[in-house]
């Protein structure tokens, strides 16, 4: 008991250190910084370099890492966050995600992909308690986490710059009017937060023993959960959330086994958000300052295509691959189409109803598994499984997201993120249903007129036809009364409620219909690969789907298609770059978000 709790506490303190930085940045810049976990990894890797290759002592390592990660934080803010200050928060979220792709892959190129041993610069097993060996290191981590929180608290309360940071966090415009240099304060917040992240990387590296350039992603998701659990923007909340999550995870693992860790983490997060929508320590803002997507539509109008242009494009989509493209390119086309369908589900949820979802892989996975399991184990025909997949995904989407109706702004994104990860974790853990990590193999291809649809071109035609139907559905929905009500909910929830609109019901409906569309996409996805396992439906799929709609223009159904072509095609087009492929992808992604935050298919009204 005691040793399990202790193990959890020590592990939780590295979450706490990361969560502190996340919360600080959120408070000042109102941005969820996806690159923060990468800063952790850079801290760990550069710490390794200082300690092993250069042989520096611990104090110098920490100092060196603080300089490196502090600079990195400054660069992240200047390059990816500040330019988007006037854009909606969603654009900054995606740009930090792009930065994380760049930093992770950059680190992998600089340091090499190998896992390596982080030298124990402090003793790890010189103390003992209840059979558990622990050391100066563990105690140090715990003390440093709490100490830094107190130090940071003092800094924010008592120093000039600290007060400036708090003022900005409370009201940017008012702070600016009082003469507070916003840019400098925000830079400072990023530097401080990133130094914390870097130091966490060094301590975490020592605690975990082994590190690699991708180490951030493992710890990062738990840190997100910890920061949200404690209440975004609250420093004591970040530390409490981190420690609590560490302990709960440790006992959860002890009871249900190590593979349940992710499931536990995000189930805890969702339950806490359900009971306390602003986290344990967060203050419930009387009104969300601004909807996640709000100002977007005021400034941007979508580029409208004329009907004949749409017709030409549709015809070309059928004819060109058939006569001019080889099977490899057609196979990419199949992926583009499936991602376009997934993105269209988000056009409804995020574009029309304004609910930013970072977990749209969830209904995709549910649809895929439903169709795959029905066709393989009960021998049901694919065509029957298709609508069932959609309905199951719709129902489960509504149920899973229902706790979040009380949530606002960023909390909705984090809750959907948790839902997405939860569904993937459930697919791993519910062996009896999903076959666990072994996945579902030998999914039969659909048949049409008695012939199997399995050649790339045949699959492409089938999926494309379904995409066109979905496209038509989405366009129709947008123009309907329902679409207008969703727009009202998106633009001003309070006004919508005042006009008698049952806001929560309409949000449910958006997630439901979006879930149906994504579920259909999932069924196609499963048939296309003939094999699925839980790893296919990771967080990267959710983020890609959201990136596609934002890039295409959140409010433009055709934009979802264009975005899918660009973002699914890009990594393939970059194939000749080999190891540097994903780095280049990240850089291009960042460039696109910065240059066209309103989306490819959006234009700014002048």
């Amino acid at each position: 008991m005691l040793d399990t709790a202790l193990a959890g506490l020590v592990n939780g303190s590295s979450y706490a250190l990361l969560a502190l930085g996340l919360s600080l940045i959120f408070g000042v810049a109102n941005v969820i910084n996806f690159a923060h976990a990468s800063v952790f990894a850079v801290g760990a890797m550069s710490g390794w370099w200082f300690a092993v290759d250069l042989g520096w002592p611990l104090w110098a390592v920490v100092l060196g890492v603080a300089v490196v990660t502090g600079l990195l934080g400054l660069v992240i803010n200047v390059v990816a966050v500040t330019p988007l200050a006037k854009a909606p928060p969603i654009a900054a979220l995606l740009s930090t995600f792009a930065v994380s792709v760049v930093v992770d892959n950059g680190a992998q190129l600089v340091f090499g992909p190998e896992t390596r041993r982080f030298p124990a610069l402090l003793a790890t097993d010189n103390l003992g308690l209840g059979g558990l060996r622990f050391g100066t290191l563990d105690v140090t981590i715990l003390v440093v986490a709490v100490g830094l929180m107190l130090l940071l608290g003092w800094f924010l309360r008592s120093s000039r710059y600290g007060r400036a940071i708090r003022a900005v966090a409370q009201d940017r415009d008012a702070a600016a009017q009082m003469g507070i240099p916003l840019a400098r304060v925000q830079n400072l917040a990023f530097v401080v937060a990133s130094v914390l992240g870097g130091v966490a990387g060094v301590l975490g590296g020592m605690y975990l023993n082994n590190i690699s350039p991708t180490v951030g992603s493992t710890v990062g998701m738990s840190a997100f959960a910890a920061a949200t659990l404690g209440g975004l923007g609250s420093l004591p909340g970040a530390v409490a959330g981190g420690l609590l999550l560490g302990v709960v995870e440790a006992f959860g693992v002890s009871w249900w086994g190590g593979n349940a860790r992710t499931l536990i983490t995000f189930a805890v997060l969702l339950i806490v958000l359900w009971v306390r929508p602003s986290g344990l320590f967060g203050k419930r803002a009387p009104l969300a300052a601004e909807p996640m997507t709000g100002t977007f539509f005021g400034a941007a109008r979508t580029i409208q295509l004329r009907p004949w242009q749409v017709a030409v494009a549709a015809v070309a989509a059928y004819v060109v691959p058939a006569v001019a493209l080889d099977d490899y390119t057609v196979q990419i086309g199949v992926q583009v189409v499936v991602y376009a369908i997934l993105a269209l589900s988000l056009t409804l949820v995020s574009g029309q109803a304004g609910q930013i979802s970072l977990g749209q892989a969830a209904p995709l996975a549910i649809g895929a598994y439903t169709s795959a399991l029905l066709t393989t184990s009960t021998g049901l025909d694919f065509w029957l499984s298709l609508p069932i997949a959609g309905v199951v995904a719709a129902v489960l989407s509504v149920v899973l997201v229902s706790p979040s109706w009380r949530l606002r702004g960023h909390y909705v994104s984090i809750a959907t993120l948790a839902t997405g990860l939860l569904v993937a974790a459930a697919a791993v853990n519910f062996d009896w249903l999903t076959n666990g990590p072994s996945g579902v193999a030998a999914i039969p291809p659909p048949t049409l007129f008695g012939a199997p649809v399995s050649a790339p071109l045949a699959v492409y035609f089938l999926d494309l036809t379904i995409l066109l139907v979905v496209l038509l559905l989405v366009v129709r929905l947008r123009r309907s009364t329902l679409g207008r009500i969703w727009s009202a909910v998106r633009e001003d929830e309070v006004a919508a409620r005042s006009s008698g609109i049952a806001v929560a019901d309409y949000k449910s409906l958006a997630f439901g219909i979006g879930g149906f569309v994504a579920g259909i996409g999932g069924a196609l996805f499963a048939q296309q690969y003939s094999y699925i396992d839980p790893s296919v439906f990771g967080i990267s799929v959710s983020l890609l789907a959201l990136t596609i709609v934002v890039l295409g223009g959140l409010n433009s159904p055709l934009g979802a298609v264009v975005g899918a072509i660009v973002l699914v095609g890009l990594p393939e087009a970059l194939r000749m770059l080999q190891e540097t492929r994903m780095l280049a992808y990240g850089v291009l992604l960042l460039a696109v978000v910065l240059l066209r935050p309103q989306g490819l298919m959006g234009k700014v009204a002048r």
């Binding site: 041993r117 790890t124 060996r133 023993n209 082994n210 017709a311 058939a322 296919v536």
Partner: protein, 386 residues
Amino acid sequence: MISRRGLFVAAAGAGATAVLASCGRLSGEQTTAAAAPAEGPIFFGVSAPLSGSSAEYGKIWRTGFDLALDEINGAGGVKGRKVELLWEDTQSDQKQSVPVAQKFAGDSRVLAELGDFASPASMAASPVYEKAHLVQFGFTNSHPDFTKGGEYMWSTSTTQQDHAPELAELANSLGKKHAVYYINTDWGKTTWKLYEEHAKKAGFQIVHSEAVQADGADFRPSLIKGRDAGADVLVFIAYYQAAALLTQQAKNVGLTQTKIALPSSAYSPQYLALGGEATEGAQVIVRFHPGDPRPEVRDFVKKYQDRYGKQPDDFGAGAYDALKILAWAVGQSDGTREGVRKALAEGKDIPSLLYGPFAFREDRRVKVPPSTRLVVKGGAFTLVGA
């Protein structure tokens, strides 16, 4: 302005035209690529993780492949033609291995394919290779079902069916109360099931078993359970990173006297580097080990060490061997894709670093000789009893 109905008719018409125009490509039949060129370099495709969390294995493959390429091309190539590799990064993700397979299938220069790293990524791509009559040489794919994907799926990897019972026997020779930790991937789970099966038959006592996350960082709560169950031997069914972490953290929770048994996937100099002193005394079963006295092994180990400054592991040796086998097969063949498959099927004494001269079994796998046991002694792998 065209009416809506007009649009629909036009689209339907175009669809029909496209369908008719491409009738041949719509059926699920074999997609025959153009005949391979008879001159110029010989190409093999490599579907591998070059970025993402498995990138380090792609890097190890490269060491083995590069060494083999230098040898083959240094000796004048195959039938006077140079051998070249076409690398494609898949991150060992089936969403990417399938299009890559399609790319190789459509490239008539490609005579055979190597990879992918993880069995799921390979198995998702298998139907494409099968249709293209292109050999998919999955030399790390230990999943029992991999070569069942079709006539063109070949592997020199041990299967878990061979490996798991040997691991159980090793563990039982070290202690009577097994605590087994397996990474929660398809590979880990399959190995565990076969392990458990064998243990039941042989009457071994398993006091604790648990799936752990492959990319997990903190295994202490899980290890405490094994400690409290009274385990005297720990079995880590994992790759070397997770195995090294588990080994270290076992000491941290007080399992200092407990023996450790490992599968060959943990056998790597990296295991020692990552695990440090905690690895002392751990035992591992391997098919390849650098101390093997056979001349070809000694030659390979020396070359590898000269070039990379470290000992080859299972993945590096496996990559080297796989490429040399494929080059041999092309040398025996008429220079077509089908010829490569035939050469593999009919070869009686296929030269191999790992196994010596061998022939493939009916199931397109190798009858693997009994594995060797190594123990970590003084920070190095040494033969048990040596």
